[in-house]
Amino acid sequence: MQKLCLGVMIACLVIFLASGISLAQQKFRIGYADPLTGTFGRDGNLVRDAYNFWGDLVNAKGGIEVKGKKYPVELIVIDDKSIAAENAKFTEKLITEDKVDLILGGFGSDSVFAGSAVAEKYKYPLISGAASSNKLFERGFRYYFSTLGKATEEVRGCVDIVQILSPKPKSGAIIGSDILFTALACEGYKKYAAQNGIEIIHSELFPITLQDYNSMLLKVKQKNPDILFVGSHLMVAMKTIKAMKEIDFSPKMVTFSYGPTVPDFVKSLVKDAEYVVAASEWAPNLPYKDPLFGTARQFNENYFKKYQRYPDYVEAASAAGAYAMQVAIEKLGITPPVKEEDRVRLMEELHKQNLMTFYGVVKFGPDGANEAHPPVAVQIQNGKLLNVFPREAAEAAPWYPMKPWKER
């Protein structure tokens, strides 16, 4: 009996101390649901790395500074297994059960579409840097923000680049996997190809589960387009290159909506990755900077130091999104625990924001899309991703036309 009483007293003491400690150590609890496994597991992990990069940098300085006091940041992530319904469920859990202060977006249009609907309902501003489907911005939401532009606009750089290529390409073929983002990228290609006077001689969406691309690409090769435009994620991009080499298909240029900017692409494909052009919204040589991350170049190098790999633009966009939220919090003087009125003010502030970051200008339009982001095109030259368009931002001239496989 005595032992029991003693035990209970010690337990109470511990709990008291623990709660005391946690009260003293006030912090911002930021949650997000993200695909860490499943089809987009690879990409979802990149977003997690980006948020952690931001969080660690902020915490190294003691935390977010509000009214002279510093509040560390705690990031809470839940794996949605690349299933949209799960993302909605977990976003709701983070908000209603875990009662996080703030919400961020995970990877991928499907997941973010579902999660942001929940965030909108509970009036939690959600900033994502890894989803760009146009539909995300067509819902009339006020609480959804994206540091990326719309999917159809993201690929603009890859098509406008023809303006500086000579001899000017005349025809193009568009292929893409049959999921939302890539299908939209294909629409973007179509739109800008028309504006640039490129004739589209073939256009096809194929199943994301398609194992063998050879026969499909054969048809495209037959039509002999100058440019191959591909709506892709990493896996599709890698498969396309391997297939192109196997069937000896060398158009004058091949460009991907996403994939080549992820380091795995060059690492795995080595020499076969040369000449590939890709859409990007950011490159380390651009003249952007901010007080937290430094210049774009510094962000790039520090990222490498932490993760032994360079960041891709989605990671940059995600980190910038977290930073945008931080700046708004600091400006409004919001402290944890964050209340609903604070979040409403946060939403309004984000709409007013016009912020320069290492990622470029972050200015959210009324529909939440980042208005001020000129898409860029990068190309893999000697194993490195270099900015090749537009000219003002270019680090190098584009290599054109692509050297046929047999001549390499």
């Binding site: 860490l36 496994t37 839940i78 794996d79 297994k81 299933i83 949209a84 319904a85 909605a88 469920k89 709701e92 859990k93 908000i95 209603t96 059960e97 499907d110 579409f113 579902a114 609907a117 539909k135 049959d178 999921i179 939302l180 890539t182 299908a183 096809e204 969406l205 199943p207 994301i208």
Partner: protein, 308 residues
């Protein structure tokens, strides 16, 4: 003994009915609603697999068909929800009928593969239809956006009603002549056939009933999620979960699906956040252990012990 169970059951039902208003969080309401719908889905699978012994690997086809029927009706024709989901059920059942006739003649693995093939084919057809035929109907990869629905509480009750309906149908089946015919098919099909049971007709009845409810559930989840794509609603993972939940709870038992669905969903919630990869590994181990040590599932093993 029976009275004790009935009282317990009634108590549980009352608790569940008032739960959303008892101050539990929105997340908890959602969580319970999800369990109800999984019990419904697993229960549907159980009606076929548990009682006829025919292991279906394509039930998600009807779930997906139901989602799309509701999606198209609500988004494009502005048909109200309840009417849409009933139509979803009806159309799923209608499609199930001509599929049942040829496939239910197959045995074991072949039936499984045929149903899987059907589900995959459905997914691909809906994905490629617009592009191949040149129209805008299913919207392929772009998916369908449904109107915004009511809150979680409404879906909680809808899910609850469906769950009761599925369990109810299973209960009715168990005690009816229909149920006996099904079990005869499971134990010794040829003997059943010889003794005058029209096995194909009975199997088809079970299959179509299962499809009907799966279609309704598909419609409900489409409205709840507000956005559907073929990849989401024809996902083979949905079938896999139904199978594992039924196995865990006990295939061919009345409450097996309920126990299995609850158990697995709870484990998922507990493990999932801190152990994203290991969740699946643990489920794998659970499956292996259950199969090796408790092949009748939780309910089945308990029933056997009680009988002994």
């Amino acid at each position: 003994m029976k009275r004790r169970w009935s009282i317990l059951l009634t108590a549980i039902i009352i608790v569940l009915l008032i739960a959303p208003y008892s101050g539990i969080s929105g997340y908890m309401v959602r969580f319970l609603a999800i369990i109800f719908l999984w019990i419904g889905k697993t229960g549907c699978w159980n009606i076929v697999a548990g009682y006829t012994g025919y292991i279906d690997f394509g039930p998600v086809a009807y779930f997906g068909i139901g989602s799309y029927v509701t999606g198209l009706l609500m988004a494009k024709a502005h048909i109200p929800f309840l009417f849409s989901i009933l139509l979803s059920g009806a159309i799923s059942a209608l499609i199930a009928f001509p599929i049942a006739l040829p496939t239910l003649r197959l045995r074991g693995a072949y039936f499984g593969i045929a149903t899987l093939a059907f589900a995959e084919a459905m997914k691909q057809i809906i994905l490629e239809f617009d592009q191949t035929v040149g129209v805008r109907f299913f919207e392929g990869p772009h998916g369908i956006t449904l109107p915004i629905g009511p809150g979680n509480v409404s879906f909680y009750y809808v899910g609850f009603v469906i769950m009761i309906a599925v369990i109810g149908i299973t209960y009715w089946t168990e005690g009816s002549k229909f149920g006996y015919a099904l079990r005869a098919i499971r134990e010794a099909e040829q003997a059943a056939e010889l003794s005058g049971v029209n096995t194909l007709r009975e199997k088809t009845k079970a299959y179509v009933i299962s499809a009907f409810f799966l279609g309704i559930i598909g419609g409900v989840e489409a409205y709840w999620l507000t956005y559907i794509t073929p990849h989401m609603v024809f996902d083979v993972l949905i079938t896999i979960q139904m199978v594992v939940m039924a196995l865990l709870g006990g295939i061919g038992t009345l409450l097996g699906p309920a126990i299995g669905a609850s158990f697995l969903t709870i484990i998922y919630e507990l493990l999932h956040r801190d152990f994203p990869y290991t969740y699946a590994i643990i489920v794998g181990f659970i499956v292996v252990i259950v199969v090796l040590l408790m092949p009748r599932g939780i309910v089945g093993t308990l029933e056997a012990k009680l009988r002994a």
